[in-house]
């Protein structure tokens, strides 16, 4: 790894202090996240579990769309595969819930990679349409009579909610939240490493300058397929965790609305940003509820107004807006200091 060294001197110290600040911030956030289920009701804990689930899925989609520039309108399909892998393994084969998560991830990695290979020939809108087809098809495939024996067809599969292990005095919701949180942290650390490293730079290079990227020796085809596979893996893991939290899978759970919702989430949260995944997840989890509170007659119209409002006020997503706000604040703070110095 040939990380470009930052310029020496004062900026280095500044970068180090920012880094330290960021680490402290992250640690505080993590402690708060761990404390959360003990402060709110089981119902809220369950909702925040879903936020974490969506955050993992959004990070996955962001690797593909935000960093690599490939639009997918069909990630709901990978989410569904992950969910069904977990449900089938638990219900039909008696596999413990925690063991289903890596299996779901591995299977989605393979399926995503294989789907990515032919899809590579399609660029931009054409790829979006191909993935859209995948998202539309998935609910029907799950109902197909040849797989009905496994998937439970239209009736779906009901799964049992896991209890806290080792005799811990936690409610199932609290335990599931902490379990999901642990996986979320692992997935985000992996994602962060991937994106900050050579692979991440290659992905961004392919997005911005595909010809220059291949001229520099990046195997465009391989990286694009890999991005698809990794992205599907994240979404599949999220699907498995979502199924365990909801305790039920059915084709109707994974309609095309889910795929569109995920795409909405990354745009609202902030394209090509890691914390954006959390903001996007909060949006897709809570805004439809708020919209329903405001109007029963047209909840999606209210949702649409929120969407337009967010895009109009924060064109770079929530994360972009926060960064901009942070930069402005620092700018304002640094001005008086300069005056004193001058």
């Amino acid at each position: 790894m040939s990380a470009v060294a930052p310029p020496v001197g004062a900026p280095l110290a500044a970068a180090a202090s920012t880094r330290r600040l960021r680490l402290i911030g992250l640690a505080v956030l993590l402690v708060a996240a761990c404390a959360l289920p003990f402060l709110v009701s089981n119902y809220r804990t369950f909702q925040f579990t879903l936020v974490l689930v969506y955050a993992i899925a959004l990070l996955g989609l962001n690797i593909l769309t935000g960093y690599n520039g490939q639009i997918s309108l069909g990630h709901g399909a990978f989410y569904a595969i992950g969910a069904y892998v977990a449900a089938i393994l638990m219900d039909r084969m008696g596999v413990p819930y925690w063991a289903t998560v890596p299996v779901a991830g591995a299977l989605c990695l393979v399926v995503g990679f294989l789907f990515g290979l032919p899809a590579l020939r399609l660029e931009g809108h054409y790829l979006a349409l191909a993935t859209f087809a995948l998202g539309v098809t998935m609910p029907q495939l799950l109902k197909n009579k040849y797989v009905e024996h496994w998937t439970g067809g239209v009736q779906g599969i009901v799964i049992v909610k896991p209890d806290a292990p080792f005799g811990l005095k936690l409610s199932p919701d609290q335990w599931l939240y902490l379990f999901t949180l642990a996986i979320t942290v692992v997935m985000f650390v992996i994602g962060w490493n991937l994106i900050r490293g050579r692979v991440g730079r290659a992905l961004v290079a392919i997005r911005d300058q595909p010809i220059a990227a291949s001229a520099m020796g990046i195997d465009t085809a391989l990286y694009k397929s890999l991005a698809f596979g990794v992205s599907a893996m994240y979404t599949g893991i999220a699907g498995a965790l979502g199924a365990i939290a909801i305790q039920f899978v059915a084709p109707d759970s994974f309609g095309v609305g889910l795929s569109i919702g995920l795409l909405t989430g990354i745009v609202i949260g902030g394209l090509a940003s890691i914390p954006g995944a959390f903001f996007g997840a909060l949006f897709i989890q809570f805004i439809p509820n708020v919209a329903d509170q405001i109007s029963k007659a047209a909840p999606w119209a209210i949702y649409g107004i929120f969407l337009i409002g967010f895009m109009f006020l924060m064109p770079m997503g929530i994360n972009g807006a926060i960064r901009l706000g942070w930069a402005r604040m620092r700018h304002r703070h640094s001005k008086p200091a300069q005056r004193e110095g001058g």
Partner: protein, 406 residues
């Protein structure tokens, strides 16, 4: 009168006696009930693919509003919390958990959709919260032993097609049957009822079996395909939009089978008028509710009352949509159960009273159709009547048929 009815009436009498005695002595409440209010929760698809059914929740809310204006139930006002689940099971789980854990409702009423209700059923049993009168015709809701906190309401899908099967066997024993069905739980439940009803003859009599997806724009090609099979009986298992298309297309290509149409799509205003009333002549179906557009009920007191109710409490609602009659009728059933509960508003007593309906017959149901439940019978409406469309109105024929009789 069967043994079952005797048992039902006996248990109802016992239940009433039990309910009446402590009521005089003390009031008993579970979460969601108090001296002043009864909290009831619901999820409905106000948005999403099944949003056409959202009007049921609105009609029910309007009915409860009327009851509240009239003084409530035994002096208690109904606080009805109806939330959107967009017909997505994960959302149903989330919303029902909110209703039970945060809003603390006494019971959940008329949650709509087979997948949505399946998703919450286990949770409702674990929490011991009534999941009353679910808005789906799937056969599995009548399971008092396995799921004592869940109860259906409408006649189930399998019963209905079993009745058609018996009718076909009687009228046209050598029929060649073509089936069109929606590729989901609802369509497959109906199909199973038909095959069960035909018994051993199902294999030889059903000559064509074609499905469609809800997302398809039309079923025209399916109709052409079924016509090509040479069938002379057509069992049409479709939701309103597709039912109208199927009726019109079959007529237009000159296919004249004996045409059985499922009860889901018997609306004169919502299905037959768009299909063409002249093209709908001869359709056979079943019913248990009065259709507001059907001219034979134009001066019927029940429909006149219903129209007045709609105009006052739900003015945005459609007066030609028979699902608004459905919502009005099922809301009456819940009010009846809560009345029977008296001052004992525990979840256990709610289930007990729901299982003690005795010949309850709201006037919007067809004459002769009554609701009966018991500790081992969680299916309130089990009888329907066959009817034939004459170009203007549905003409009922034959006796009221009960599932037990089959």
């Amino acid at each position: 009168m069967s043994v079952k009815h005797l048992l039902a009436s006996a248990s109802a009498a016992v239940a009433l006696a039990l309910a009446a005695t402590p009521a005089a002595a003390q009031k008993k409440y579970d979460p969601g009930a108090s001296d002043t209010e009864i909290k009831i929760g619901q999820t409905m698809p106000y948005s999403g693919p099944a949003s056409a059914y959202g009007t049921i929740g609105k009609a029910e809310a309007a009915y409860f509003k009327m009851i509240n204006e009239q003084g409530g139930i035994n002096g208690r006002k109904i606080n009805f919390i109806s939330l959107d689940d967009a017909y997505s099971p994960p959302k149903t789980v989330e919303m029902v958990r909110r209703l039970v854990e945060q809003d603390e409702v006494l019971l959940v009423f008329q949650t709509l959709g087979t997948p949505s209700n399946t998703a919450i059923q286990k949770y409702m049993q674990a929490k011991k919260v009534p999941q009353l009168f679910v808005a789906t015709g799937a056969t599995k809701w009548n399971d008092p032993a396995g799921n004592p906190w869940t109860m259906g309401w409408q006649p189930n899908y399998q019963t209905e097609t079993t009745i058609y099967a018996k009718h076909i066997l009687k009228e046209k024993p050598n029929a060649k049957i073509a089936v069109l069905y929606q590729n989901d739980d609802y369509g497959k439940d109906y199909l199973k009822g038909l095959k069960d009803g035909l018994g051993d003859k199902a294999k030889s009599m059903i000559v064509a079996e074609v499905s469609y997806e809800v997302s398809e724009p039309t079923v025209d090609s399916q109709i052409v395909q079924l016509h090509g099979s040479g069938a002379d009986v057509f069992v049409n298992i479709t939701t309103p939009k597709f039912a109208a298309q199927a009726i019109r297309k079959a007529f237009d290509i000159g296919w004249k089978p004996v045409h059985y149409l499922n009860n889901v799509s018997v609306g004169v205003g919502s299905v037959l008028t768009p299909a063409g009333l002249d093209k709908s002549v001869g359709l056979i179906s079943t019913a248990y509710l009065k259709d507001p557009v059907d001219t034979q009920w134009a001066t019927d007191k029940a429909i006149v009352d219903w129209t007045a109710f709609m105009k006052k409490y739900y003015p945005d609602g459609s007066l030609i949509d028979n699902t608004n009659v459905y919502g009005y009728t099922v809301a009456q059933t819940l009010v009846q159960v809560l009345k029977q509960c008296g001052d004992n508003l525990t979840r256990e007593n709610v289930m007990k009273q729901a299982a003690s309906l005795k010949d309850f017959a709201p006037d919007t149901m067809l004459p002769g159709i009554k609701m009966n439940t018991g500790p081992k019978d969680f299916a309130p409406i089990e009888s329907v009547q066959l009817m034939r469309f004459d170009g203007k109105t549905w003409v009922r024929f034959g006796p009221v048929i009960s599932a037990d009789a089959n």
